[in-house]
Symmetry: C2
Subunit: 406 residues, 2 copies
């Protein structure tokens, strides 16, 4: 949680943190600037103090929306630093030297935010050499920003609920769109009698998202039949929409200051084969079982174990026994959700994963069973939130019904 930042810095022995880079694809920066619409920035926070945002002069309005104390980059006259140093890397080091001097930053400083990995390596290596009064610090696993972001406060949960509401509307409207089409043989057809395709449906979904200001930048999964049997297959645009085939519809839009939602339902139009019905019931039951196990203090990896054991007990292959299986349950049971589509907590079932579930955690529970060679796959995904009192809430108010009557 934002209010934990000082505590987390203290636990890591950090005197200050820097979060920087372009805002696009940079959830830790977006987090610290409270979703302000800047394209890039440098946030410096000393322990016990409010973060300061150093922003581009042409983004001063958007920077102000962060609510943070501002420093206009223009004052550093970066092009003059470039002229003096004659080298962009040296100029960046000199810029940070001046910023740190102005803000009184010294001691152990942690660095976060996305960048080109090679450039980050060179920059932080050079900075560590050039600034004797600063110790460059970083964390590889569960870094400070990832841990802070993992537990959501009330405002963040309200935003996630709003994305949830709009996402459910889109899924409901997608089903209405499908139902509006005629059936010819086992195909859905357009007004002109030609087959409705995955591409048509996806275009409609993108329209429904845009009308609700949902950002679709991470794409969309609408995969039918065999493709539904490969978890991250996005669906082939030319595939016709056929009755009785599983459709995995996985939608993960962003809205309201950058928060994601993530919802998966599996549908069969008209009817479902008995085998699919049976697999669907097992997946739905697994989801309930896993959610029932979620509570404060439980190891995150325990949820993965519960899902694998549940499916193994019913005779399905799982990655627990065969990490290379492409049939049965082939992926993680869930992931944290927030300003990134995948974030803390992580549910990998290894002894080194000592994460436990905490108040404020928001994460997906998404069991699935996949049989690409038999032409189907089933996945169901809800989002769960553990509130401050430890109560577990399902944030996905969308029913689980396999067959869509046509």
């Amino acid at each position: 949680m934002r209010s934990d930042l000082d505590h987390l810095m203290e636990a890591r022995g950090l005197d200050a943190i820097v979060v920087s880079g372009r805002a696009f694809g940079n959830p830790s920066l977006v987090y610290l600037v409270n979703g302000a619409g800047i394209t890039q920035g440098i946030v410096v926070k000393k322990r016990g103090e409010t973060p300061v945002l150093i922003h581009s002069p042409i983004e001063r309005d958007e920077a102000a929306a962060s609510g943070l104390p501002l420093v206009n980059m223009a004052r550093y006259r970066f092009t003059e630093i470039l002229r003096e140093t004659g080298d962009r890397l040296k100029a960046m080091v000199e810029l940070y030297r001046r910023i740190f001097a102005d803000l009184g930053v010294r001691g152990d400083v942690g660095f976060y935010g996305t960048a080109d990995q090679g450039q980050a390596y060179l920059f932080l290596t050079a900075l560590a050499e050039a600034l004797p009064e600063v110790r460059v610090r970083a964390e590889y696993d569960e870094n400070l920003l990832e841990v802070a972001r993992a537990t959501k406060d009330a405002d963040e949960v309200a935003r996630i609920r709003e994305v949830a509401r709009r996402t459910c509307e889109v899924v409901e409207e997608t089903l209405a769109f499908l139902r509006r089409h005629r059936v010819k043989g086992d195909l859905l057809v357009r007004d002109d009698g030609s087959p409705l395709t995955v591409g048509d449906v996806k275009r409609q979904i993108y329209r429904l998202m845009a009308e609700r200001e949902l950002d679709a930048s991470e794409g969309l999964i609408f995969a039918i039949g065999r493709d539904a049997g490969v978890p991250h297959s996005r669906g082939r645009p030319e595939d016709p929409i056929r009755l009785g085939q599983t459709i995995v519809y996985d939608i993960f839009p962003r809205y309201a200051g950058g928060y994601f939602f993530d919802l998966t339902r599996t549908f069969c139009l008209g009817y479902a084969p008995p085998e699919v019905e049976s697999v669907y019931r097992d997946v739905a039951e697994c989801l309930e079982r896993v959610v029932a196990e979620a509570r404060v203090g439980v190891p995150a990896r325990h949820l993965q174990q519960v899902a694998c054991r549940f499916f193994a007990d019913r005779g399905y292959p799982t990655i627990a026994e065969n990490p290379e299986t492409e049939e049965g349950f082939t992926h993680l049971i869930g992931h944290g959700l927030g300003l990134a589509i995948h974030e803390e907590p992580v549910f990998t079932d290894v002894p080194t994963n000592v994460r436990t579930l905490q108040p404020g955690h928001v994460f997906t529970v998404e069991p699935g069973l996949y049989y690409p060679d038999r032409g189907y796959g089933v996945r169901l995904e809800d989002v769960v939130w553990i509130d401050e009192g430890g109560e577990v809430h399902n944030l996905t108010p969308f029913p689980k019904v396999l067959v869509v009557e046509m």
Copy 2:
């Protein structure tokens, strides 16, 4: 250009390159996987050889769309490596050791692609220590991937032209949408007589983009009056649409394998004040002047100098003489455009910027004059491409007309 990769590796003394990370916000990875819809991956390319994509098992279909030779990550059994090493950083180093051994990678290896900066620093430092047969290499400025991406081949230009066509349609339809509204006093009003707002127009633009499958993930600028006078102000949703005020409309969608377009026009609805008309003419003339100076071999910084000199000659303040000015011409004349909205070439006017314009470069030319205290700003932006024969093409087939008749 993609076909330059081996040559660029040789010039830098690199035996291999690694481009990795999540695909979102990672244009160098998207480039090497040819826009395939994976969410993460590791691409390894040895000099003189085809790149290899190491992909998640659940993304095998999307990975195949890259056209690259594939290695399924499942074969490395990463969770077992995690168990053995007991630490995520050590496990990543061990994973790369195994990948490099399998692919015969040794010698000088360059690293690219976005990551958390602190994690990248720790990872590459640890890798350099752990693998004696590998020298970790990186470049801070104009890195290999940035340079390769900067010069577009025919396929890339065709994709950018397609985004251009759709973007122009959206702008045309936005004007039609505005014209469909009634005028009451100096305001545009909705059917119910209440004022049309910036928020309404933006929602319509997002709809128009979605209908054309344009991804709006980087947002949109539609700013009126005083806000038009601050280059990166995105516009306040509650602002009413008023006649006679400048509207800066800057749209930068993504489509067709991830390529961006970038188009800015300034409009006044109904009429324009004489001062704005005069400034508009100067901005339009500056744009023409700068495009006329673009040719192979010209230093990139020369275009910035041309724009600043042009405006200074007409009595406008510029950042050339005062880097802190917030009036007049206050930003760079343009930026490279491709899989990132801002990429090479860079036009900063400093002696260390020795970049010259090259065949294949695609970049924006976007002069602007800003007077926030007088309540207006004007920017015009076209995209220019230098073809293999050195001919300069304007890729923005959209007229420059200030006043929109109502």
